[in-house]
């Protein structure tokens, strides 16, 4: 892999903008980023943030309004036929040949990718069928497959050809947990062999599991960009959650006292902050999320001791990528239901 590597970055995007027709707003508004060779670049964002539009531009399905794109160190639009030979794309929407069985469809896909040697094609198909657990459905027509099975075939099919860069636009939608894990592990193994992956997803666990770098996009702009741990450090702001599980149901008085502790800290540190709050997990578990749980915890434990309640479990949980994502997007004024980027 990486046979045509000629620059430090596999993808280099500068000041990219996309406006649909004569609309006043930009679906993509001046985004700049680089993707290093042999890494997984996660592209996250709420619906309509502009992720798919970006992928469509990078895969030549859409023309950008302005900006520059270099892939493998070459300008995309001027060298697209050469570049596209080394790029795989798994689109967000399903794509399949209705009348063909899984095996025949894979064979046809191999031919389209220029795999002329029948024996080589057969070997590759068998490997794919085996790797992606498709043996049992290889003689079934695409039309008769379930949505999840079709998705598995769509993703698996892309690995029939040699590539240096793979675009995965929400590839795990419709996959069951085991198929999802199988795919993510396979991608990881391919990345170790030099593949570069541009990955969009809504599932934060996947992004955390797979990505080396993550860009969070909203309203057509990249609003956060770092490694997963860097994002947590930067945007988690040390916010952690204390999870208290009691043997008995905690009484209202205790809850009111806990609220007082949290509110007291909140107003002292940052009167306008929204990072401290109390939540419930079922009837036995209380969660306290705060900027500095180390300061609160001794007070909380003293209170519980005074109340004479029996604690079954106590744990301190660091911020998840999902919390970081929600915090970043919320700050940017997330507008649900907006469909700018489609």
């Amino acid at each position: 892999m990486c046979k045509i590597q000629k620059s430090e970055n596999c993808i280099s995007v500068s000041n990219l903008r996309k406006r649909y027709g004569k609309a006043n707003t930009y679906a993509i508004n001046d985004i700049t980023f680089d993707v290093k060779y042999g890494s997984v670049f996660g592209f996250l964002g709420p619906n309509g943030a502009g992720k798919t539009t970006t992928v469509k531009i990078l895969t030549t399905l859409l023309r950008a309004t302005s900006g520059s794109i270099y892939i493998f160190g070459r300008q995309l639009l001027k060298n697209q036929s050469e570049i596209k030979k080394r790029v795989g794309v798994v689109s967000q929407n399903p794509s399949f040949e209705t009348n063909l069985t899984v095996e025949k469809a894979l064979d046809l896909y191999g031919i389209l990718w220029g795999l002329k040697d029948k024996q080589l094609r057969k070997e590759k198909i068998n490997k794919i069928l085996n790797t992606f657990d498709l043996e049992s459905i290889k003689s079934i027509k695409n039309d008769e497959l379930s949505i999840g099975q079709r998705r598995r075939v769509q993703v698996a099919r892309e690995f029939i050809h040699e590539m240096d860069l793979l675009f995965l636009d929400e590839p795990t939608v419709g996959l069951d947990p085991s198929a999802r894990r199988l795919l993510l592990d396979y991608i990881k193994s391919q990345v170790k062999s030099g593949l570069t992956v541009f990955f969009t997803t809504h599932i934060m666990e996947e992004a955390e599991y797979l990505c080396d770098q993550i860009a969070i996009m909203d309203k057509g702009k990249i609003i956060a960009f770092d490694t997963p741990s860097g994002l947590k450090q930067k945007y988690g702001k040390g916010t952690k959650t204390i999870e208290l599980t009691f043997n008995d149901i905690p009484n209202k008085l205790l809850i009111d006292h806990l609220k007082n502790i949290v509110n007291k800290r909140q107003s002292r540190k940052d009167p306008n902050g929204t990072n401290s709050f109390i939540g419930f997990n079922g009837v036995h578990t209380i969660t306290i999320t705060a900027d500095n749980v180390e300061e609160i915890i001794s007070e909380v434990l003293q209170l519980i001791y005074k109340d004479g309640l029996q604690l079954e479990n106590i744990s301190i949980i660091p911020p998840s990528l999902e919390e970081v994502f929600l915090s970043v997007v919320d700050k940017n004024g997330y507008s649900n239901g907006r469909e700018v980027g489609r």
Binding site: S81, K84, K85, F167
Partner: protein, 257 residues
Amino acid sequence: MVNNILLLVYRNLVAAIDKSFLIWMVAFPVVYIFIVGYAYSTLIGNREINIGSVSVTYTSFLTSGVIGFNAMNGSSAVAGGIVWNDKRNGMLQQLLVMQFSKVQYIIGNLITIILIGLVSAALIMIIGLPTMYKNANITLWSVPYIIYALASGSVFFGSFTIILSTKIKSSEAHNVISNGLFLFFTFVSSAFYPAQGLPGPLTIAFYLNPLTYIVDISRAGIFSQISAFTNIQVLILGALAATVFVIAIRSMVSMKV
């Protein structure tokens, strides 16, 4: 470029042709020729039908008409099916993110349409040979007329169904509109009965239908009855096919992916 186009033609043929399509392509015209043809012959009696200066039996006349009809059927089914399925099932988008361009996709479809049109017509010519061999008089001079009529007819009907497939959104509307239009194309044409001697408005309707030109030209070629009127029909059919093809290209280019 050429390699990519050939790959796309191969892909179209593999993806679009299955057993049911082949059975339909052969069974449908066979029913027309051997059942409708002989059944109507008993109604008509011994009366022969004039094509230029020759007279032919009704089954001969019908077979030569069904050749053009099958070119229309085959090309429109394949072209509409390919574009409709590629659009609905995401394969157009997938092909365009591969090494193929939209221009190559369009040319690939055009070649597939012509190939299917010619092959399906040739198939009927072979099957219907027993009904025509006494009257048919195919010469070197008439062969180009036959091929031209079938190829440009395939382009016309293939392009026409591509336009329908790109413009119509729901499959129900697509079925209703295409079935309605093809009912007109099939039966308001000279494929099944001669246009001469029809009431005035019906004659006009016949000559508004490109299938009439395809059938008339190919029939003139099969029975070597090429006249000045045939050459006018050649020009009209060429112009119609080119116009509809250009519209089809425009609608394919503007198709959202």
